[in-house]
């Protein structure tokens, strides 16, 4: 993006985000919802197949999940909600209509705080509603003819749709919004929200207007993005494209455009669904839902501590830097593990615990791939807590501790047990160190000479010799002190 367009036009962006809920069964039938990797059409029943006479039954878990999301995002929860039928003919829609929510959704308004380049700002939400997912059409071409196959496994899965107000102004903000939203969904344990697996899908409405203008420009809906990064790039491309058009005095067309990952561009989609009229009307097969204030209060009490609150608490309670706190609150389970570790190591060792998490532990996790969490490994908060306690009590050296961590990641054994089984406890016995130090002085006349010639660095070499001899288990400070005492005494 050129700096020129940046200064001339303000981009206005709203997102429509679909999130698959991680419920046990589907939205309106008893089918197992977890169909990922399952054989096509293996998670189906007469209800989700849309057979004649079949009726929907509301999945309460999905309703609860949606209400939790609404509460976590500061939404208003109306006392009355209903489902509606959204009518449109398409082969992926088993009943010829989708059960969704039109004018009385579960959640209204709401807000999510995002941070971009160190600056925090609020993104306001319009609503969150619940609906059912569609089947998947798989297009095939065998060289003779092209055809489509239908996989109904996804049909009827609970899908939460969240609509933001046109409240963002850059691709980067949209990226931050989605990342933060996913984090909240995962904290609530109601959704995985993986864009690459279709667990989170996002359409962006993008328009631009000259700075200072009240009125919104004509909006373009951008679809087909399958990662946070592609949402950001699609929006940036679209802002650039619209800016050029406006510069050239061209009229921006209100349309739907598809993002092409390979080129990073958006292309106009044949709008065959022009002026679609969904003919919404209340779903007669499902009575409206009355949501009691007590239900809302019970759910509010169930809300976990959310990422923003936890981040602030970690900074003040444990004296962590913002960067450390951010890493430690990235996932709920990592934060839980950190606090478990601090509980074992002692509150005064919170910083060293954080160092382990943000250093060596993170290295191990990164080696497992992008999004690995501690929960995916054999290591728990207790492991890190014991490790820090061992180091703090001088029972092991820092070098040994790293080895112990490697073993723990491999075997899942606890550090105390590893240290004992392998005899890794640090040698603090002055007599033992003294003996090895004297040997080192005798065996390295060159280093002794250098030291005496005033090269203080030579002491480091000699300490290294002692450590090697003692397999790293010697206390480095004791070794250095002992060496100096002998060298200085001989010189005197």
């Amino acid at each position: 993006m050129t700096t020129q367009t940046r200064t001339k036009y303000e981009a206005v962006i709203g997102l429509e985000v679909h999130i698959q809920l991680k419920t046990r069964s589907k939205m309106f039938c008893g089918c197992d919802r977890e169909y990922f990797d399952a054989a096509p059409n293996s998670h189906v029943c007469p209800v989700c197949l849309g057979m004649p006479g079949m009726l929907p039954v509301i999945n309460q878990e999905a309703v609860t999940s949606t209400l939790l999301a609404g509460l976590a995002l500061g939404c208003d929860i109306p006392s009355y909600a209903k489902f509606d039928r959204k009518n449109y003919p398409y082969p992926d829609l088993m009943k010829g209509y989708q059960i969704s929510q039109f004018d009385q959704p579960f959640c209204l308004n709401g807000v999510l705080e995002i941070e971009v380049e160190g600056a925090r700002r609020l993104v306001h939400l319009e609503r969150i509603h619940l609906e059912e997912d569609t089947a998947r059409l798989l297009h095939r071409d065998n060289g003779i003819e092209s055809y489509s196959l239908l996989d109904v496994n996804r049909a009827g899965s609970p899908l939460m749709e969240l609509v933001t107000k046109p409240d963002m102004h850059s691709g980067e903000e949209a990226h931050a919004f989605l990342r933060t939203l996913r984090q909240v969904m995962r904290y609530l344990r109601i959704a995985d929200a993986d864009m690459d697996k279709g667990g989170m899908r996002c359409d962006a409405n993008v328009s631009i207007r000259p700075f200072g203008q009240e009125e919104l420009g004509r909006k373009v809906e951008v679809k087909n993005m399958n990662s946070f990064r592609s949402v950001q790039r699609a929006i940036e491309f679209e802002i650039e494209r619209q800016s050029r058009m406006m510069d050239a005095g061209e009229r921006i067309v209100q349309e739907t455009r598809g993002y092409v990952d390979a080129t990073g561009e958006t292309v106009s989609q044949r709008s065959k669904e022009e002026a679609s009229d969904y003919r919404y009307f209340p779903e007669p097969d499902l009575p409206p839902l009355h949501i009691a204030p007590e239900t809302i209060e019970t759910l509010r009490e169930k809300l976990p501590e959310l990422p923003a609150a936890r981040l602030a608490r970690f900074e003040t309670q444990y004296g962590l830097t913002p960067a450390e706190a951010r890493i430690l609150t990235e996932s709920r389970s990592d934060g839980d593990a950190f606090e478990e570790a601090v509980g074992i190591a002692g509150a005064e060792h919170a910083r060293p615990v954080a160092h382990w998490f943000t250093g060596d532990v993170l290295k191990h996790l990164n080696a497992l791939g992008g999004e690995a969490e501690l929960g995916d490994t054999k290591v728990t908060g207790r492991h890190i807590g014991e490790l820090v306690r061992l180091v703090a009590s001088n029972a092991v050296t820092a070098a040994t501790a790293k080895e112990v961590l490697d073993v723990a990641f491999e075997t899942g054994d606890l550090p105390e047990a590893i240290v004992d089984a392998r005899g890794l406890r640090q040698v603090t016995d002055a007599g033992a160190i003294d003996e090895v130090a004297q040997k080192a002085i005798a065996a390295n006349p060159k280093a002794v000479e250098d030291y005496r010639a005033g090269k203080q660095a030579a002491i480091g070499f000699l300490v290294g010799q002692v450590m090697r001899e003692m397999k790293g288990r010697a206390d480095a400070n004791t070794a250095a002190e002992t060496l100096r005492r002998h060298l200085d005494a001989a010189a005197g």
């Binding site: 007469p46 057979m51 004649p52 006479g53 009726l55 003919r279 009307f281 499902l286």
Partner: protein, 488 residues
């Protein structure tokens, strides 16, 4: 021995328990009769002989074990709108010809649990849209009282086969009168339960917020037993209501003394045949003579708007309910189109009959952007008014009495090309579906050799009151014992 097939279900049940004959013998005789009668009536789309005989044997075992209820071993026919596992369920549409459900609807499951013997699937107007059973892809059903006349509809097959003494019991569905009107035109008892009383799970949907499954029988006692077997809460249908199911014969000894009957003049206006009016008036006198308190001062002004309200709400719901029939997944399918969209359109264009398409278009229009408020929303508001009006009337009355249908059975072909004349058949029954109350039609006279029915409407979930009144009325009149001429 020969079995008297003119007996009622409760008479058969008593004979079966007494060992007079077996359910297998009764079922074989019944199958022979309904097969023979069908040459004249065309009341059935599918006969289920094999299923019936298997169920009859099972029923005989239950009877022998002393585990028999009032329906055990008794033949029952069901409207071909009710899903039957392993047996084609067509809704009388070319669209579903050959469609075999993989589950039973709840009511059929409950019939099976009660030990009833299902002998066949009866004819109807396509997707239950009609009042004459002429709109069937499988041909019209004939009225056993006069074969050149309609049996009413949409549950015409279920009514005709009970009236002709083919089976003692059958099930129909009622969206705007589809049980009560054919019951009246065929001279039998038909009851539409309170909305939410009977599960709709597995019933091919026409207008979800209006329809209920209900019994056809020749007397109130049989209707009470059949309703008792199918009624009750169902986890598979969220619109069922967890009200306990009573013994529906509980008010049979109550008589008519003190029964507060509202007779709204609005239901006796233009369009009501003089003969029908005369029969109803005589019935009112009979009720009064038995101690019923007749009140003709009740006005139900909003109910006069029920017909237009119905023809907005029912087609609107139907337009969505029938969207699933697109030829992609099951049923009739055109496969040589230019595209998937073209094949879907052609499948629907050729699979649905004219009346069904008319209603889909009506409903699609009523729900369209810009028209929703003026039609659907307004209809819902009037619906609320009609409900309140019924509630007010029932604060001071036990039942509302009206004619069931403005005329006796009309001739085949007489109204089939005049949709509005056809729709007027349901003028007196439709308000009840709009309000959701229960109502029964009982035989109350004859005109030109054809039966006349009167409708009693009750408070929600008070089907017992209607059945009790029908039973008491049947004790002092014999209209329900009139039989049509025997068929070949």
């Amino acid at each position: 021995m020969t079995i008297d097939l003119d007996l009622t279900a409760h008479e058969h049940a008593a004979n079966l328990r007494a060992g007079e004959y077996t359910s297998r013998a009764l079922t074989e005789a019944t199958l022979a009769r309904i097969h023979a009668q069908d040459a004249s009536l065309n009341a059935y789309i599918t006969f289920t002989d094999d299923l019936a005989l298997a169920e009859a044997d099972a029923a005989d075992a239950r009877i022998a074990a002393g585990d028999a209820g009032p329906l055990t071993g008794v033949p029952v026919a069901v409207k071909d709108l009710l899903s039957t596992k392993g047996i084609q369920t067509t809704a009388a549409s070319k669209m579903l010809e050959g469609f075999v459900p993989i589950v039973d609807c709840t009511v059929v499951q409950r019939l099976k649990d009660a030990g009833a013997v299902i002998v066949g699937k009866t004819n109807l107007d396509e997707f239950a849209m009609g009042s004459s059973t002429e709109h069937s892809a499988f041909g019209a059903t004939h009225n056993p009282w006069a074969l050149d006349r309609v049996p009413g509809g949409s549950s015409g097959g279920s009514a005709a086969t009970v009236a002709s003494r083919g089976v003692p019991l059958s099930l129909g569905t009622d969206t705007g009168g589809s049980i009560r009107q054919p019951a009246a035109l065929c001279g039998i008892v038909g009851l539409k339960p309170t909305y939410g009383r009977v599960s709709r799970f597995g019933v091919v949907a026409f207008a979800s917020s209006l329809e209920q499954v209900g019994p056809f029988a020749r007397d109130a006692e049989d209707a009470a037993h059949l309703l008792g077997a199918i009624a009750g809460d169902d986890v598979m249908d969220s619109t069922t209501v967890p009200v306990p199911v009573p013994d529906y014969t509980e008010r049979f000894d109550r008589g008519l003394q003190g029964l507060r009957v509202a007779v709204p003049e609005a239901f006796f206006g233009d369009g009501l045949d003089a003969d029908v009016r005369e029969s109803i008036e005589r019935a009112i006198e009979d009720l009064a003579a038995q101690g019923a308190i007749i009140d003709r001062s009740v006005a139900l002004p909003a109910a006069s708007a029920a017909l237009p309200v119905y023809y907005i709400i029912a087609p609107s719901e139907a337009s969505a309910n029938l969207a699933r029939y697109d030829g992609v997944k099951y049923g009739f399918s055109v496969t040589d189109g230019r595209s998937v969209e073209d094949e879907m359109a052609q499948s629907r264009g050729r699979g649905f009959g004219a009346e069904v398409k008319r209603r889909i278009m009506l409903g699609t229009y009523a729900l369209s952007a810009g028209y929703y408020d003026a039609y659907y929303l307004k209809a819902q508001r009037v619906r609320t008014l009609i409900k309140r009006e019924f509630e007010a009337a029932f604060a001071t009355h036990d039942v509302i009495l009206t004619p069931t249908s403005p005329s006796v059975a009309f001739r085949l072909g007489e109204k089939v090309d005049d949709p509005y004349a056809m729709y007027l058949n349901d003028l007196y029954t439709i308000p009840v579906n709009i309000a959701g109350n229960p109502a029964i039609s009982i035989p109350c006279g004859m005109s030109q050799g054809l039966p006349v029915g009167m409708q009693l409407i009750g408070r929600p979930f008070e089907e017992s009151t209607l059945l009790g009144a029908a039973h008491a009325y049947g004790q002092v009149t014999d209209w329900h014992r009139q039989a049509p001429p025997a068929l070949g």
